[in-house]
Symmetry: C2
Subunit: 434 residues, 2 copies
């Protein structure tokens, strides 16, 4: 097995034991990128020499933290001090911030090598699509807006990456690309230094190839650590099943794979409880959209003032309040969401998490779509943690995501549940290169 | 009258008419600063030559927007591309970001001259106090954490300034310094580029010497504009009176001045309705503190990793979860706040706003306190817009603030009410220099 094929967890352990040099790992990832990037187009900016310099510096130093020597990709809406950050916007062509975003600074201080910037939908919001293709089928979208991060981790170009989610931008690419993706509880990884869209929704997202990979990052961010509750074994596990009001919009093959997974878990002793969608919460995806579009009324004011000719019409429509949102509609949307959050979490009492779909099915064909966020919008609005596991597959062998959903602040518990589920639901060898 | 004494609104009108050059205005402010800064110590960074260069560039250009040629001060926790940004932290000594925060970029693109950075409590959170003194009494605090912004605007050093509020950091200095301060609805001025503390609370704040001054900034941020509801006249005005569960903690002179103001408004035809504090909301200030302290568990992770020796023990205590917050306590605090938000706004139906105190009384003596946020924490938690008017005065002639509170998204309405109230409650000539 080549180093680029290693999971972040395996690589971090090997680096810590002195059995793998960061330089070797990074060089191997760069080789994989050189081979695959012409087809995949996952990267917005890459500087091989600088990445190898970082790796050699890590190799010379004492261990900084859990990510020592591990390369990561960073979605190009998150600022980095040593790479351009362009948001896939012509306004920011060549733009070079001189500071890391919070999410990047923590990983760097924990030993990570910032390999490069990954492709994104313009401002993670609209406008220009990224050129990135799905490693399982080059004719399909990898999902978005964290397109490059999802595709790069899936294809072995880099073991870990950062994304963001305002609608479904982290979990959906994880599902379509067959990797692990996590949207932590809103606000627990500070947003500072990422380009904002809608502040009540914007969340930093994480990608890896196992729950153990995600743990490395949660440890760095101080969201998982020594005094966490122990992981429940399969026989102790109590999970909800949450189909949401949108179940009928899922593809039959996704529904069928989901039911097979539930049957398998029941067989292995997992207690499953069907959760009714809370009363009065049917409109939650519309409320999420109103809150998201409202964010666009303010987020792009600087760009409209400074570069009106380079700002895509889609952002201008948002700035012009294309939904005609009023103060009362905003209060109704925000309060509706708050009521559903309380009702959903009440329904989760006594459970370790809940299972649902990460996406309506497989990645759609074409690069001018990113698929639907139907099974993501409500969870982003509720600000609860979600992990997508590559546990559901179509008959044609395309990945679909199983979504694990927790209560706010239960990130460490949810991660432990994901680690337990990985053992029975995820085949770590199922990769585009195998 | 010297240009430094002009309100922003008067100065912006004169600049727009070609009756005042930005260079003249900026030079006058710099003279005022040269005279008063040795006592007041409101500024963290100032570059007179660069400010004059900006002003001359504005004088040569077509009008950019509502703030053309007007100097502003920026709290030194908000990033600026052309000044250092140090957060009053030794970790960031000499730190120079190369980008403006959103809040600054909008003002600059609207024509403002970024005069300099104003003093702040370390990270607007704890640790080191700023050296700033209160222009009404040099032995007293100007309040904080936006200490320099409040003091500089009050003293005529600059007509407008930016602050931030996570507890009471914008409204309290406005009250203690006798200026207008506004905390808009949470999230409507994106936080991007300011140093985060607690994301559900962090709000950009605005300072001026009249409600009309604040309007210039709200226009730039697209929170007030052409299709706003017309300002209700005094006879149409319907206001709540909200004493909160903390009324007994207000100084008798503040209570008395508040009652006199209510009597005057009643006499002028304003309809006033006493609002009961919503049931179950007595603990809201504790919940606010829990949400705020929880933010500190994540906000300073990069600084602890990169510069542990330079991070004040107060931030380390927050990082170590000194309150012992649990996931359930966080959910209880956040949901408790959400319920109170709905109940408070229900009680406001049919009213244009509500009146309360901005602070428990006058600025306390000493520079190692910033006073109490007792009458601010709940409103920050509720994410509602607030404006402090310099309408209450102690017998000794020290300012106390009258706080005007609105429902979320009613920023433009609240501003219109403040403009109406300015006409009867605020003496624009009551300044430290008169």
């Amino acid at each position: 097995m080549q180093p680029w094929q290693w999971s972040a967890h395996a690589a971090a352990t090997a680096v810590a034991r002195g059995e793998l040099r960061s330089e070797t790992l990074v060089a191997s990832c760069l080789e994989r990128i050189a081979l695959r990037e012409p087809q995949l187009q996952a990267w917005a900016h890459l500087d091989a020499a600088a990445a190898l310099d970082q790796a050699r510096a890590r190799d010379r130093e004492p261990r900084r933290g859990p990510l020592h020597g591990i390369p990561i990709g960073v979605k190009d809406v998150i600022r980095t001090a040593d790479h351009p950050t362009t948001f896939n916007s012509p306004i920011y062509a060549g733009h070079r911030p001189n500071e890391d975003a919070h999410a990047v600074a923590v990983l760097r201080a924990s030993g990570a090598v910032i390999l490069g910037k990954t492709q994104t939908l313009e401002f993670a919001c609209g406008g220009a699509f990224p050129p990135t293709r799905n490693p399982w089928d080059l004719e399909r979208t990898p999902g978005g807006s964290s397109s490059g991060s999802g595709a790069a981790v899936a294809d072995g170009m880099v073991p870990l990456a950062l994304g963001t989610q305002t609608g479904g931008s982290t979990i959906r690419p994880a599902a379509f690309c067959g990797v692990h993706g996590m949207k932590p509880t809103w606000g627990r990884i500070p947003w500072d230094g990422a380009k904002g869209y809608s502040p009540a929704l914007d969340t930093v997202g994480l990608y890896g190839r196992s729950a153990a990979d995600l743990r490395l990052m949660l440890q760095a961010y101080a969201l998982a650590g020594g005094d966490d509750p122990p992981a429940p074994g399969l026989g102790q596990l109590r999970l909800g099943v949450v189909r949401t009001p949108h179940w009928a919009e899922a593809e039959p093959q996704a529904q069928a794979a989901f039911e097979r997974t539930l049957a398998l878990l029941r067989q292995r002793g997992v207690h499953l409880a069907e959760l009714d969608w809370p009363d009065g919460c049917e409109a939650i995806n519309r409320w999420q959209d109103e809150v998201m579009q409202d964010g666009g009324r303010y987020a792009f004011v600087p760009e409209r003032l400074s570069h009106p000719a380079l700002l895509h019409a889609e952002f201008k429509a948002k700035l012009d309040n294309h939904l005609g949102l009023t103060p009362q509609r905003m209060r109704d949307a925000l309060d509706g969401i708050a009521r559903c959050r309380m009702a959903f979490e009440r329904s989760m009492e006594g459970l370790h998490g809940a299972l649902g779909l990460s996406a309506p099915g497989v990645a759609p064909l074409g690069l001018h779509t990113q698929g639907m966020a139907t099974f993501n919008r409500m969870w982003t609005a509720l600000q609860v943690p979600c992990i997508s596991l590559p546990a559901l597959w179509s008959d044609a062998g395309l990945p679909m995501g199983l979504q694990l959903i927790g209560r706010r602040y239960d990130d460490a518990l949810l991660l432990a549940v994901a680690e337990t589920l990985d053992g029975v639901l995820v085949d770590p060898g199922r990769r585009p290169w195998n």
